[in-house]
């Protein structure tokens, strides 16, 4: 696994936050019936190696469960992974439920197989960023590190 992405580079790229603050608490979630979680696990591992506390939900969670987990774990960020094509319903639903629960300050990002043409609607619905195949872990971490949370 170590050879798949440049861990050392990840560790070195933003020591500032590690030194100055408590780690981000990040939920990595698999909404819906999609059973592919290799990508989610690689992302979870990269975020851990970047000094953050990552809670992985396991497969097949409902948007309701994901929002509930984000609340109980006092998370600042939720990452949603989907490779099954159901992102168009699931991602906005998570954003909507977060707002209904008063958790609109939680940042949502997405990843997986998300076609370019679907992305504007997801951003409109409240997803802050989408990271598709080929994204480096450094790119994703720099985005999260730059958040005002």
């Amino acid at each position: 696994m170590g050879a798949l992405f440049p861990l050392r580079e990840v560790q070195g790229c933003f020591t500032a936050r590690q030194v100055m603050a408590t780690p981000l608490r990040i939920i990595i979630a698999k909404p819906g019936l999609d059973g592919h979680d290799r990508g989610a696990k690689v992302v979870a591992r990269a975020l851990r190696d970047a000094g953050h506390e990552v809670i992985y939900t396991g497969l097949r969670r409902t948007p309701e469960q994901i929002v509930r987990i984000a609340m109980d774990e006092d998370a600042q960020v939720v990452g949603l992974s989907s490779l099954s094509g159901a992102h168009g319903f699931l991602f906005p639903r998570v954003c909507e439920l977060l707002r209904e629960s008063g958790l609109e300050d939680i940042v949502v990002f997405g990843g997986g197989i998300i076609p370019e043409r679907d992305r504007p609607a997801l951003i409109e619905a409240g997803v802050s960023a989408i990271f598709g195949p080929g994204t480096t872990s450094t790119e994703m971490i720099e985005f999260l590190e730059g958040l005002e949370v």
């Binding site: 560790q11 590690q18 780690p23 608490r25 979870a44 591992r45 975020l47 851990r48 190696d49 970047a50 000094g51 953050h52 506390e53 990552v54 809670i55 992985y56 939900t57 396991g58 497969l59 969670r61 309701e64 469960q65 509930r68 987990i69 609340m71 109980d72 774990e73 006092d74 629960s101 008063g102 958790l103």
Partner: protein, 272 residues
């Protein structure tokens, strides 16, 4: 305090000022055991049982932080899908943040807050190894030690401490070969100590065999069996270590030591 306020307050446990909980009736069950013996699956079973009895169940699952990056991958809740729904169950993942000495008192405050907020049963699931393990379980009112088959010699020296403190020993995975023998070995070992020994129960979180006996044993646990002196010792050591770690001169002392400017006695005197 609503659910969200509670979740937030638990993040700043250092500032929590809930009154210390009464020791009886007992509320806090510590669940410990080596990695892979099935702690999470058993906790899922126990939580489901208590929920069906009308209890409000909070689970605090402790996992280690990476000593290199300081980050943590907290995956206990993926094995416990039953905890993600219902108002009467609360699940929180906790990273050790590399201050195992400081974790017990933080956990203790979290537990006091949960009790104050009306949670009637609290389960602390621990990492499963090392000396700090005993410190963490010293927070619990009662202690359940989980063992499993095929672990070689189960009565390892490192387990002796926890085995002495355990109020109940559960040998999980009874559907696999060798579980009976492990249970017998543990019983034999416990019988060599003085006084009444902790019950040893065989069960399988996977099939459900024996879990009813485990529930009955948990619900009928007598007074904390673990020697009061040993528990008090762990609590005292934990608090002392925390005070040491939070001492303003701590990092200077470490630096001085590592650079050879200070002797160990001089470093200690800086921390008085």
């Amino acid at each position: 305090m609503d659910r969200r306020e509670l979740a937030r307050a638990l993040s700043t446990a250092e500032s929590i000022t809930a009154p210390a909980r009464p020791l009886e009736p007992w509320r806090v069950l510590g669940v410990t055991g080596s990695p892979g013996v099935g702690k999470s699956c058993l906790v899922d079973r126990i939580a489901t049982h208590w929920l069906s009895c009308g209890e409000r169940v909070a689970i605090l699952a402790v996992d280690p932080s990476s000593p290199i990056s300081g980050g943590a991958l907290l995956g206990d809740r993926m094995r416990m899908a039953s905890v993600d729904a219902g108002d009467n169950v609360f699940f929180r993942s906790i990273a050790t943040r590399n201050v195992p000495g400081g974790l017990p008192s933080r956990l203790n405050r979290m537990v006091d807050l949960l009790v104050q907020e009306g949670w009637t049963r609290i389960i602390i699931e621990t990492v499963g190894s090392g000396q700090s393990e005993i410190r963490i379980v010293a927070v619990a009112d009662r202690l359940l030690l989980v063992e499993g088959p095929a672990r070689g010699d189960v009565i390892q020296a490192e387990k002796a401490g926890v085995l002495e403190l355990a109020d109940l020993v559960v040998v999980n995975k009874s559907d696999l070969d060798g579980a009976d023998r492990v249970a017998d070995e543990i019983r034999l070992s416990l019988n060599l100590s003085e006084g009444e020994s902790a019950p040893v129960i065989l069960c399988s979180a996977e099939t459900g065999d024996g879990v009813d006996e485990m529930f009955a044993a948990i619900d009928n646990l007598p007074n904390a069996r673990g020697p009061a002196i040993a528990r008090a010792r762990e609590r005292l050591l934990a608090t002392h270590q925390e005070n040491l770690l939070s001492h303003p001169n701590f990092s200077d002392a470490i630096k001085g030591l590592s650079e050879g400017r200070l002797s160990i006695e001089e470093a200690l005197s800086m921390l008085q």
